[in-house]
Amino acid sequence: MADYVTLAEPYAQPRQQREADFLGMYVFLGTETMLFGALLALVYAYRVAHPEASQVAARHLKIWIATANTAVLLTSSLAVAIAVVAARHGKRRMVGVAFMIAVLLGLTFLGLKGWEYLQDFQEGLAPGIGAPSPLRHGPAALFLDLYFVATTLHAIHLTIGLGALSWVAAMVLRGKVDVPRQAVVVEMTGLYWHFVDIVWLFVFPIFYLARG
C-alpha cells in the first residue's frame, strides 16, 4: 500500500518496482529534455547570431496570450499535483475531477494557442500563409520559423498529455486503476504533464520575452 504499486514480474519487492518506475520516467524525461533542449539551444544560438532581427520578430509575437497560457499551464500543474496527493490518499473522485480540470485547462491552452496562430497567420508571420510580410525575409524569418517549430512540437506533446490524463482519469473513476494501491499510475502521468509545463516555462522567455 505504501509503495503505490502492484507487484509484477520481474520485481521482487514493491519498493524496488516503485523506484524503477520513477527512475524510468525520469530517464525518459531526460530524453525529452535533450529533444527540446537541443531545439532551444539552436534558437539561443540564432538569437546570439542575430540579436536585432530576433528582437524585431519577437515583438510581433502575442505576449499577452502567451502570458495567459503560462498561467493556464501552471494552474493545470497545480490540478495535477492535487490529483497525485488525492491518489495517495485513495480519493478516487478527487483524482478524476482534478485530472479533468487539468484537461480542461490544457484544452484552454490549445484554444488560446489556436487563436494566436490564426493571428500570426493573418499577419503573414508563417511561411507561405497570409499577407506577405517583411518579417518573412532575413534572420527575423528564422526566429519565427523556430517559434512555429518549437510551439508546434510542444503542442503535440501537450495533446499526448491530454490523452494520457483523460485515459487515466477514466480508469481511476471506473476503478480499473485502484487508488492508493496503484497510485503510481497517477504519479507517472503527473510527471509527464509537469514536464510539458516545464518546457513551456522555457519556451515562453526564449521566444516571447526576447523583445528587448
Binding site: 520513477f22 524525461l29 546570439v48 505576449i63 510527471l191 523583445r211
Partner: protein
C-alpha cells in the same frame, strides 16, 4: 493531506508571482541582462515544479541525478556550439 494540498497551492502562488516578475522584467529598462534574468526566473519556476509538484524532494539521490543529468549535458552542446559561432570572425594571428 490538507498539509500537502496547502503546500501545492503555496507553490502555485509562488509560480504566479514569478510569472508576473518575469513579464515585469521584460518591460523594464534593465537592458541587456534581461534575457539572462528571465532565463534564471524560468529555471527557478522549473525548479519549484520539479522539487514539489514532481516530488523530487522525496526521491533518492539516483533519481534526482537522473532528473537533472540531461540539463547538465545540454550545456555541452550549447557551450561548444557557441565557441564555434563566437570565434568564427576572429582573425588568426
Amino acid at each position: 493531506m490538507a498539509r500537502e494540498l496547502r503546500l501545492a497551492v503555496l507553490v502555485w502562488l509562488g509560480l504566479m508571482a514569478l510569472l508576473a516578475t518575469t513579464v515585469a522584467v521584460t518591460f523594464s529598462p534593465l537592458g541587456p541582462i534581461k534575457p539572462t534574468l528571465n532565463l534564471a526566473i524560468a529555471a527557478l519556476k522549473a525548479g519549484l515544479v520539479l522539487w514539489v509538484f514532481m516530488h523530487l524532494r522525496e526521491q533518492s539521490a539516483l533519481n534526482r541525478l537522473a532528473a537533472l543529468f540531461a540539463v547538465a549535458w545540454l550545456a555541452i552542446l550549447v557551450a561548444m556550439t557557441l565557441i564555434d559561432l563566437g570565434t568564427r570572425g576572429v582573425a588568426a594571428t
